[in-house]
Each structure stands twice: as structure tokens, then as C-alpha cells.
Amino acid sequence: MDLTAQTAVKLRERGRQLVQRWLSRRSPPSRSVTLNHRSVFILPSRAGMGFLLVIALLWLLGTNYENNLVLALTFLLAGLIAVLPVHTFANLSGLQLRLLEVPPAFAGDYAEAKIAVSGGGSRAREWIHVGWPPEEGVHLELVECDSAEVRVSLPVVRRGRVRAPRLRVESRFPLGLFRCWSWVDLDIEFLVYPRPIAAGPLPVGLAPGEGDSGERIRGGDDFAGLKPYQPGDSLRHLAWKQYAAGRDLNSKEYESRSDARLWLDWSLPVARDTETRLSVLCHWALQAERSGIAYGLRIPGATLAPSLGAEHLREVLTALADFPVHSPVSGGGHGSI
């Protein structure tokens, strides 16, 4: 039983691979794709099947009543369904899709691809649907305009570089009785940052080697650490608790947050696995950016000096996203189709 189920899964997987290979031979991936007869498929939709049923019923009505006008109407509808695929195909054929931009996204969120769709002619193109099923996708019409920009979104669960599956471009023009579609590979690769996970306040002053930098400003609101007591230190800052526990007399040191520099170190987060660690680092990076604290990143294989700004944030998050996957456990999901 288990074996047959496994075989079935394997067979399905194998079938899917075959289809994928065949598709990629027919329409190889490219950042700009023009649909043509090689890449477009067409079949009656469910409504089209209903229409065929109506034609059959009308034929029965006309034949049984020997009514030539009913038969004429039947044949008219039959003629209609014969000319429809030509129009449906023409609506999609020649359509050009060009990948404009793929902004990065966070895991667990929707990744978006910005795509330009152009008709390549003066003809109106209607009832076009672009998307990654089973996602909603985007509905568009090219009427009185040559091209349109659409943002198609896909949920991403795994961090890293995620290759998008083939994009489905579909049209049911003109009557919705035929479904004409194509699987387009626009060579879309999403850069997916780790999902931010909140894990306590920013680890200010906790990272090893932080003391090197002399830019710390003493005296402030934020607790920065303990230092041996020196005469002249404020009595209010004495660490009485630690002293009571039998340690040396220390005084608490505070510093101002505004000017602090922060090292987000690989060893800082208390986490079970790599992914959570990356997620926490991601959260901290975002928080630091928001709070205006200069931050640096130190993870195995990458070190980014503390800084601030959108560009810096992008670099940090990209480094986190590109961190090699150690464990073979992966989320799968939409990204693997």
C-alpha cells in the first residue's frame, strides 16, 4: 500500500518533470517572451462544455419537432463555437511579456514580479490573465494602449534565491467558451530575505570585540555593561545586586543609543537552527535601520562594516538571504513547482 503510494508519487513527479522538459524545449526561458503557436494551448472551458451541451439539446429539440428554424439556430451556435478558438488564439498570440524588475521580498510574504505586457499591434487584447496558479493573478486588458505593467505576486516560504515557476498567461476572449493559455518562463528569480522573527531588544554592546570602537558615548539611558568601580562614580549606578552576591564592586555603565554602533554577530541570537538565527538577525537589522543605529553584520563567510541606509540594509539582508543552506530540510511550497 505504502509502496504503491510512493510509486504513484514518483510517477507523478516523473510525469511533471517530463512536461517541464517538454515545455522548456518548446518555449525556453527568456526575460522577454512573445507568445506564438508553439507555446499557446487551447481547449474549451467549462462554460464551453455547457455550450456544447446546449447545442446538443437544441439539436434534439429541432430534430424531434422537425423544426428547421431551431436547427438553423443550432447550426449557428455550432458555427459560433467553431470560429471562437481562432479569436481566442489571436487574442493571445503575438502578446509580448517582458520582465522589468523583481524586487526582493521576505520569506512568508508575497514576492512580486513587475512585468510589461505589450500587444505588438493596434489590436485590442482583452480578458488576459497573468499569474501563478493557484494564486489569484492579474487581470488585464490592452485597449487603446500598447502595453501595460502588471505586478504578479507569488507567496514565498523559503529564504534564498527562489526560481519562480512558469507563469501562466491565459485568455478567454471573446465569449469565455474557450480557454487559451501558455506557460511562460520569464527567467524570474526572486531574492527572498529571511522572515524577520522578533527576539528581544537589540543586542547593543553584547557582541564580542565591540569595545574596539571608541565612538561609544558614555552616560545615557541605555544599559551598556558593568565596569569596575572607580571613586567618583555615581552611587546611583553601583551594581548593588552583584555586590551582594559576593562579587567585586562594580558600577553600571550607560551609553547613549543615538550614536551607538552595533554588530549583529552570528553568535548573538539564542536559536535552535540556522534559519531562526538568520531570521532574528534579519529582524534586528530592520529594527536597527528603523531606530537609526549604525549596524554591521558578521556571519560566517560575510562581514559588513556598520553603516546605515537603504543600500546598506539591502546588502545586509542579501547577505542573510544568500547564506548557504546547511540543513537539507527545506520548506518546498510554491517555490518548487
Partner: protein, 666 residues
């Protein structure tokens, strides 16, 4: 969000309602009023839902609506397996569907139903105006389907235009299918529309019945002849034989009506008739009468399916004529038959039947003749002479009392055909001569251009047949004895003063109108011959004319060639539209700019790069230099970096005349 996108927009709803309205409109008169009201109310409700003033009905309300609808249908219609309840059911399902018209799927379902409702119209009506209306229905419903695709397509002109285009492209295939698709004939017995109480010759005759028929000018029969055309005095189209008289009303009597089990020979190929060849061959197209009897001259034989001959030389149809019906007839006039006719005992008794009492004076006159030992033909001649001497043929005869025959013969002496035929047969029977009343149509208007005989309702006529030993049944028309013009020229000239007196407009007196009416009837006739009565026989004929001979190979070749032509056309069109690709927008915009510059006196040389052109502009027309710079820069960005923003900028720059930039700068 996924659901809200599926919700039907306003245009979709309105289109669906329009399609339903168009499909249902001709049925409104036939449907019970409550269905029409419920339908309108459902639409009102749905529109209120759209406006957000009301919710879609809950499950309980829907259940209640369905229950009420089923109960209403059960109350309105006794018979379930008939056409009318079927149409009503479709209308009700429209109504109920409107209450849950939510998704695109519901919309499709509703529109597919609309096609079906539109088609049922043709089961009732097959005239040219209704055919046009059917085309209109298809146009609107298809447009409604197209309008489901989006807001642009839902614009009335766009949707109707698209629909018309698609239907026009479908028309050739329709024609092809209409010609070659085999007509199988009914696969099973279907309920027919028996609702419309049509006028026409009925299965019984009382004084006054035919007077009523004379007031209608609607066409009944259209007869076209293959070969000789009978002279006017021979044009007696027999439909019914009345053998039973109850003192006032003549009726068919026991075992004459095929509906009561009288013997009918269906499609008898055994030739009871001589092989000398039929004297008259003709095709009759009969209007719907909701009765099974057909009309033909005496001794008819028909090969048309579902038509049979009765023992009293009539044609009947297996099922009532609910819609226009065409049949082929061959007729042998009785004179040409040579075999000695025999009258069976039962038949003799039936045709001598009289009520036990009443009309004593007529009986006495008949007994007198009988006592004188006269033959059947002599008695008939005396009676006809009697009519000829002192009777008046009129459309407005006085009312008659209980002894109607006595009163007519000896008092009023004014009557219409049924009075003459009825009294004649009564008197002959009383004199011991087997006789019967025959009802049908007499005469008809000859339409020269199309060569057919048009018989109208007012040509309805009743006459008599008597049995002459050795010669069989002989036709006697007592009306002819009084008013020969009636037989020769028709009712209009026989009773000119009284003819169509009650008509709202005496249009029949205006010759132009008569001409128009005849023209219209001719168009109708052509329509019936070409379209309505296009059956498997005519199909074979047409195919033989088109292909030379009808064989499967030739037919396949014909259809294959037609389909190949269609495919080639479609492919050509696809190739054409794919060829007609325009250059990219940026280049088109730049070309536009160059045209404007040419008008301003700066012609770009062939092959001159945009940058070189801009430099030249700076030298020769410095006032245009700045805008040229900007356009060139935007163009380069748009064309080579494929930057949509630059494209937009280019478009913006070209929106204003170039000179405007100059004046602003100066």
C-alpha cells in the same frame, strides 16, 4: 479578495437581464402572469442587492421561492409533458437563478438557458418576422456573453459589434450544416403545442359556422402543382366528411374520425388506383390547424411520412398539424376510375341516417319524389332546380329555429353554403339516396409569379356527395346552383357587398393593399418552401443539384472542401494580423516628431542618426534646439534602454505643438 473579484459587475448584470428579456419577450403573452411578475421582481431584487440596499435571499427564502414556483406551475399547468410547461419551467429557472446570480459561473448558466428559451420560440412560430427576432435574440445573448469579459467589452457598441462579427463569421458554417446535416426525423414522440384555438374547418358543422370563417382572410393552404392545374370548378379541397346529423349539427359520426379508431391506410404503397398515371400532382403547405385532417381533391394518395388515406377518400395526419406542414399528393379524379364501386351495408346505413323526428315538410317532399320512382340523379336535379329558382346566397342569413331544414327550404330561402349543403343532404337522405356533407375549401387565388394557389380561410366551403349506383360517390354542390360565381370566382365576387363587412378597415377594397398582401404572401411562400419545409427529400434534391450525385465520398469531399476553405481563411487572417505588427512605440513617436519637424522646415535626411539630426537642428533652427534635445534624449532612452518612463516622457513632449516650446522659450 479572491471572491470579490468573481462578483459580477453592474454591466454584466444588466446584459444578462437584457438577454433574458429578449429571450422571454415573445413568451410573455403565453406565460402565466405570475411568472412574468416574479421574473421582474427577481430582477428588481437583484439590482437592489447590487446597490447594497438588500441582501441576497437566504436559504429559507430560496426554498420558499422554489416551493411556490413549483406549486404555481402545478396549478397553472395540468399537463406536465407539454411544450408550454417546459417554457414556463425555463422562465421560472431564470427567475430563481436571478436570485443567486453571484459568480461568473451563474452568469454563464443563465445565458446558456437564454439560448434555449430563444430557440423554443420557433416551436410556436416559424414566420419570417420571428426568424428575424430569433437572430436578434442570438445577437443580444452572444453580446451578453461577450460583455462578461470586462468593462471595455461590456460597452453596448463593442459587445454588439463583436457579437455581430462572430455571428456573421458563423453564418457560412450554419448554411453548410443546414444543407448537409441529415434530418433524422423525430427520435421520440414530443409534446406539441395544443393551446392556440385556431379557427378553420372544424369537426362538426352547424348553421353559421362557415359564415364565421368567411370573415377571416388568413392563408390556410398553399398549393403548387407539378404538371396540369385543375380548372376553378374542380378545385374542391376535401378535408372532412360529415355523415351524422342530430337535427341541427352535422358531424363526422361513428368510425369516420380516425381519432376514434376509423381505419386509415398509412402510407399504403399498394396501388388501389389505376396505373394510368396520376392526373394531378401537387404539394400542399398547410398552416397549423391543431387538427389532424389534411386537404386534397378526391381520391388522393400521399407518400409523405405520417399521412394516411381514409376510406372516404380523405387524407389525415397521424398527429395534429401543430405547425406548418407540407405534404405531397397525387389525385385521380373519380371519373378516371374504372372499377365498379360498391357501397357496403354499414356505409349505406350511415349515409342514410336521419334523426327520428323533425323537418316533416322536407320529409314529405322527399317521400313524394321517392314514390314517383325517380333515380338519385333526377331527384338531385329537381332539388337543385328548386334552389336555383328562388334561393338567395348571402353571408347574413336569418337565424333558424328548431326545424332548421324546413325553415330554410320553405321559409327563409336565404343561406350560406352550409345551409345549402345541409338541407340538400337531408332531403336526399329522406328520399332514400345515400348522401353526405363534405367540408373543406373551394377555389383559391392563383399567384402567377410563384405559380401557386393561395387558399384563405374565407374559401371555406361545404358541399355534398351522393351515391349513384354504378358510378359511386358523386360531388354535388348545391351552392353552385344558386351562385355559380362563388365556385368560379370565389366568395369575394359572389357576395361583393357583404364580403368582409365587419373588417375594421376595408383594406380588401384597396387594390394596392391587395397587391402588397399578395407580395408578402409570395415571400412567405418562398420562405416556407426553402427553409421551413426543407426536409430530407428536399435535402437529397438540393445535394443532387449541387453534387451531381449523392454519395458518401462526394459529400465528404464537399464538406471537407468547405472546412478546408474556412480553415485556410482563418489561418490567412491569423498570418495577416501577425504580420501587421507596428514598430515599437518609441520609434513611432520619433517618426511623428520628424514629420512635425519636416512641416517646420527641418527634414531629417534618410539614415541620419537622431543625434546628428539634433546637432543639425541646433545649427539651423536654434529656436527648436531645446525641444529637439529633450526628445532625442528621451527617444534614445526609450528605444535603447526600453525605459517605459522615457516613453511616457516622449509622449508628453509630443502632446504639445513644437512651436509652443519655441514661443515659451522666446
Amino acid at each position: 479578495m479572491a471572491r470579490s473579484k468573481e462578483l459580477l459587475p453592474r454591466e454584466s448584470l444588466l446584459w444578462i437581464f437584457a438577454a433574458q428579456f429578449v429571450a422571454l419577450l415573445p413568451h410573455f403573452a403565453r406565460l402565466p402572469l405570475w411568472i412574468v411578475c416574479a421574473w421582474a421582481f427577481a430582477i428588481y431584487w437583484r439590482l437592489e442587492v447590487y446597490r447594497g440596499r438588500r441582501d441576497l435571499p437566504g436559504r429559507l427564502v430560496k426554498l420558499l421561492a422554489i416551493t411556490l414556483a413549483v406549486a404555481g406551475l402545478a396549478l397553472s399547468y395540468r399537463r406536465w409533458f407539454a411544450l408550454e410547461p417546459m417554457v414556463a419551467l425555463l422562465a421560472v429557472s431564470f427567475t430563481l437563478k436571478n436570485l443567486e446570480l453571484v459568480s461568473r459561473r451563474d452568469a454563464f448558466l443563465s445565458l446558456l438557458l437564454a439560448y434555449f428559451v430563444a430557440a423554443t420560440l420557433f416551436v410556436y412560430e416559424q414566420t419570417i418576422p420571428y426568424a428575424f427576432y430569433g437572430v436578434l435574440c442570438a445577437l443580444v445573448i452572444t453580446a451578453a456573453l461577450a460583455a462578461q469579459s470586462g468593462s471595455f467589452s461590456a460597452r453596448p457598441r463593442r459587445a454588439l459589434g463583436l457579437s455581430a462579427k462572430l455571428l456573421a463569421q458563423a453564418a457560412p458554417l450554419m448554411l453548410l450544416l443546414f444543407i448537409v446535416m441529415p434530418r433524422l426525423g423525430p427520435l421520440w414522440a414530443v409534446p406539441q403545442d395544443a393551446s392556440g384555438a385556431r379557427t378553420g374547418v372544424s369537426d362538426s358543422m352547424a348553421p353559421g359556422d362557415f359564415t364565421r370563417l368567411s370573415k377571416s382572410d388568413s392563408p390556410v393552404l398553399r398549393i403548387s402543382f407539378d404538371g396540369p392545374v385543375p380548372p376553378p370548378e374542380q378545385r374542391y379541397w376535401r378535408g372532412l366528411v360529415y355523415s351524422h346529423f342530430d337535427g341541427r349539427r352535422w358531424s363526422q359520426g361513428f368510425s369516420v374520425d380516425p381519432r376514434q379508431g376509423a381505419e386509415v391506410e398509412w402510407n399504403s404503397r399498394q396501388q388501389r388506383l389505376p396505373e394510368v398515371g396520376p392526373r394531378y400532382r401537387y404539394q400542399v403547405i398547410q398552416e397549423a390547424s391543431n387538427a389532424p385532417w389534411l386537404f386534397a381533391m378526391a381520391r388522393p394518395l400521399s407518400d409523405t411520412r405520417g399521412v394516411g388515406e381514409t376510406a372516404d377518400d380523405r387524407l389525415v395526419k397521424k398527429t395534429p398539424v401543430h405547425s406548418r406542414f407540407a405534404y405531397e399528393v397525387r389525385t385521380w379524379p373519380r371519373e378516371t376510375l374504372t372499377d365498379a364501386p360498391v357501397l357496403g351495408d354499414a356505409e349505406r346505413r350511415r349515409n342514410l341516417q336521419l334523426p327520428a323526428t323533425g323537418n316533416a315538410r322536407t320529409r314529405a317532399w322527399a317521400a313524394e319524389q321517392r314514390a314517383a320512382g325517380l333515380g338519385a340523379e333526377e331527384i338531385s336535379r329537381r332539388l337543385l332546380n328548386f334552389y336555383n329558382r328562388s334561393f338567395v346566397y348571402t353571408l347574413n342569413p336569418p337565424a333558424l329555429g328548431a326545424d332548421s331544414v324546413d325553415e330554410f327550404l320553405f321559409h327563409s330561402q336565404q343561406g350560406f353554403c352550409e345551409h345549402f349543403a345541409g338541407s340538400y343532404v337531408f332531403a336526399m337522405r329522406a328520399a332514400g339516396v345515400p348522401a353526405r356533407v363534405v367540408a373543406g375549401y373551394q377555389g383559391g387565388e392563383w399567384v402567377e409569379q410563384e405559380a401557386y394557389l393561395l387558399v384563405r380561410e374565407y374559401d371555406a366551403h361545404a358541399w355534398a356527395e351522393i351515391w349513384v349506383p354504378g358510378r359511386g360517390w358523386q360531388r354535388v354542390d348545391p351552392t353552385a346552383a344558386v351562385s355559380p360565381e362563388r365556385i368560379r370566382d370565389g366568395l369575394q365576387s359572389a357576395a361583393e357587398e357583404e364580403f368582409m363587412q365587419d373588417a375594421l378597415l376595408p383594406l380588401h377594397r384597396i387594390s394596392v393593399f391587395n397587391q402588397l398582401r399578395l407580395q408578402w404572401d409570395m415571400i412567405n411562400y418562398r420562405w416556407y418552401r426553402a427553409v421551413i419545409s426543407f426536409d430530407s427529400d428536399r435535402q437529397q434534391n438540393l445535394l443532387r443539384r449541387l453534387l451531381g450525385e449523392v454519395s458518401l465520398a462526394r459529400l465528404a469531399l464537399f464538406v471537407g472542401a468547405a472546412i478546408a476553405a474556412g480553415l485556410a481563411g482563418a489561418l490567412l487572417w491569423l498570418w495577416f494580423i501577425s504580420r501587421r505588427t507596428r514598430p515599437p512605440l518609441a520609434i513611432r513617436l520619433y517618426q511623428k516628431f520628424c514629420q512635425r519637424m519636416a512641416r517646420a522646415g527641418m527634414v531629417r535626411r534618410p539614415g541620419e542618426a537622431p543625434r546628428d539630426f539634433a546637432r543639425r537642428v541646433r545649427e539651423e533652427k536654434p529656436q527648436l534646439a531645446e525641444v529637439t534635445e529633450r526628445i532625442t534624449r528621451a527617444f534614445e532612452k526609450a528605444a535603447y534602454c526600453e525605459d517605459p518612463a522615457a516613453e511616457q516622457q516622449l509622449r508628453r513632449l509630443l502632446r504639445r505643438p513644437l512651436t509652443r516650446y519655441r514661443t515659451r522659450k522666446v
